[in-house]
């Protein structure tokens, strides 16, 4: 069913390393270029040999299990910690200690916890950060940021009085204050209830419409599938990178699911001779056929089943979610470690 590939996978049409990657992986300006980046804390490796590029206006999902090195990567690119080796260009500026303040002035980083001053109002929190970025037109910028997260009417509220979801929105407004060239969101929906999570999704989707470049770390796969143009899966090393549909195609062979009222008397005779069918297996409610082209295989399959007197409940191409891709890769890693 699957094609095990232990090394980093690079999906068709996507570029793992490119100084000039754009939304679709084609040539153009890059918001982020990371090459062979590694971070070690003593003997412990946080992440190793990570390379990718993110185009301006792209929403790039950075997935991985807990401890995979996602947050450490974000902190490195946000100049909060220094890499052990490798290079990166962040918002057009080479990553090094000297360029830290210049890079930080062009990006925003929203950590997993909102990190608001709870005894200060929303407005006071934003005023403080506007000062830290030395922004002009503070009033206008704060108004625009609050409007972007639908919080104009809560500006005078103490942050300590806000719900978790509202605090996350304030943190997002704070991250938007300086019109960042790259916005790093580290697990933005962590700990939020479904309603607040949906609100954050909508906000990120609206930022995507505005062309904001977002680097989104998450372990919520539906979040990445819904919001991201491309995703990378990290498990200390970068395991895979590309568009979600490309990753599915690359990792899973195409197949057709057939549901029948009753099993076939001689499935080998019916399914084994069909053109374009490379293999099949029986499932609880029918059969799954590995095919080269589902559109060509499905009509012939239907005819063969009718001819064999089967009662067909459904015939459909198998849909693999990003979660299937993710679990497949992480399972590979677990198996490789146990060997």
């Amino acid at each position: 069913m699957t094609t095990p590939q232990p090394a980093t996978h690079v999906a068709d049409g996507a570029e793992a390393i490119s100084a000039t990657a754009t939304l679709d992986g084609s040539k153009g300006e890059s918001a982020l270029v990371v090459e062979h980046l590694t971070k070690r804390f003593g003997a412990r490796v946080a992440y190793e040999d990570v390379s990718f590029a993110v185009g301006y206006g792209e929403i790039f999902g950075f997935l991985g299990p807990n401890g995979a090195g996602k947050t450490t990567t974000v902190r490195t690119l946000g100049t909060l910690i220094a890499p052990s080796s490798g290079t990166a260009i962040v918002a057009g500026i080479p990553l090094n200690a000297k360029n830290g303040p210049a890079i930080r002035s062009r990006i925003s980083l929203m950590p997993e916890a909102p990190g608001l001053y709870l005894r200060l109002t929303v407005l006071e929190n934003l005023q403080c950060f506007a000062g830290l970025y030395e922004l002009g037109d503070v009033r206008g910028r704060i108004e625009r940021a609050l409007r972007a997260v639908n919080l104009e009417d809560r500006a005078r509220d103490l942050c300590g009085s806000l719900s978790k979801g509202l605090r996350q929105r304030v943190a997002l407004a704070r991250a938007l204050l300086n019109d960042p060239a790259v916005l790093f969101l580290d697990e933005p929906t962590s700990g939020l209830d479904p309603v607040a999570t949906r609100e954050v999704y909508e906000l990120i989707a609206s930022l995507r419409e505005r062309g904001v470049t977002i680097f989104l770390t998450t372990h919520r796969l539906e979040e990445a599938e819904r919001l991201c143009h491309r995703v990378a899966i990290l498990n200390t090393t970068l395991r895979l990178i590309g568009r979600p549909d490309e990753l599915r195609k690359q990792l899973f062979r195409r197949s057709v699911d057939v549901r029948l009222r009753a099993p076939l008397d001689d499935p080998k005779a019916v399914l084994g001779t069909l053109p374009g069918v490379e293999g099949w297996e029986q499932t609880r409610s029918g059969y799954t056929l590995t095919v080269s082209d589902p559109d060509r295989a499905a009509p012939a399959l239907a005819r063969a089943l009718v001819g064999a007197g089967a009662d067909i409940l459904s015939i459909a191409e198998s849909r693999h979610s990003l979660e299937d891709v993710y679990l497949e890769l992480i399972d590979e890693d677990v198996e490789a470690k146990s060997r």
Binding site: F41, G42, T72, R75, G78, L80, I81, A82, P101, A102, R104, S105, S108, L109, M110, P111, A113, P114, G115, L116, Y117, L118, R119, L120, E124, Q127, C128, F129, A130, G131, L132, Y133, E134, A171, R174
Partner: protein, 244 residues
């Protein structure tokens, strides 16, 4: 990028707003001065005005020493909280992710502890001097106003506050627990008072020249402490809890 007073001001304003709404800070800033002015006030009225000059000077010196604890203790609790407290609350990382330089952050934090400490300490000393002038025996009042007492108080108040602040921030930047940081910060702020205690007890003869000399030495220590704090302030360690 250049040093920015705008960023220092942003930190300073934020800290002062935060203090104003923090009951613990308000109580500390109120109770410490009250506690340390009671004994000097009592001394004003119970001191024997007919005692010899040396004895009177010792009594007055001890009273004034009490009040010098204020600039040492008030900012030490604030500064000891300043880094580790933000780290515990999760507010440090967003600040460190802005273009702020460590020197700007440290000076903003230091000023936020220094300004209220200085205002409170001078205000308490002003009240003491006014009470002495208005209500104390003239001999005692003139003993307070004569000699280097007032100069010592005026000179050492900001210098002791400065020492307490830098030591407090250093402890805070290396600590992982707010309570431990505050206890260590308060303890570490006290050693400079030992010299003043020796002067107050007449073990070291108090003089204007000695006061200025010691103040210059303490100023040098303050500047050295600032450089050390700036050097030990490690962004990576503060964010990850581990060293490079």
């Amino acid at each position: 990028m250049r040093f920015s007073w705008t960023r220092v001001g942003a930190i300073l304003r934020k800290e002062l707003r935060d203090y104003r709404r923090n009951r613990f800070v308000i109580v500390t800033m109120t109770m410490v001065p009250v506690a340390f002015i009671i004994a000097p006030m009592i001394q004003l009225f119970v001191a024997n005005a007919t005692a010899d000059t040396a004895h009177l000077n010792t009594r007055i010196g001890l009273s004034l020493l009490y009040m010098l604890v204020i600039p040492a203790i008030v900012p030490s609790t604030l500064s000891a909280y300043s880094v580790v407290g933000e780290r515990e609350q999760g507010t440090l990382e967003p600040v460190l992710a802005t273009p702020i330089h460590r020197e700007e952050l440290l000076i903003g934090k230091a000023l936020a502890a220094f300004v209220p400490a200085l205002v409170i300490a001078y205000m308490v000393f002003g009240i003491f001097l006014a009470a002495a002038a208005l209500f104390a025996h003239p001999v005692i009042a003139s003993a307070i106003y004569a000699g280097p007492h007032v100069l010592v108080q005026l000179l050492f108040t900001p210098l002791l506050a400065g020492w307490a602040i830098w030591v407090g921030i250093a402890v805070s930047a290396r600590s992982t627990d707010v309570r431990v940081a505050q206890q260590l910060g308060a303890l570490a702020s006290l050693p400079p008072l030992a010299i003043l205690a020796l002067m107050s007890l007449n073990v070291i003869t108090e003089s204007t020249a000695l006061a200025i000399g010691l103040a210059a030495a303490l100023l040098a220590f303050d500047l050295l402490a600032w450089r050390v704090v700036a050097a030990v302030f490690d962004r990576e360690r503060l964010v990850t809890g581990t060293r490079r």
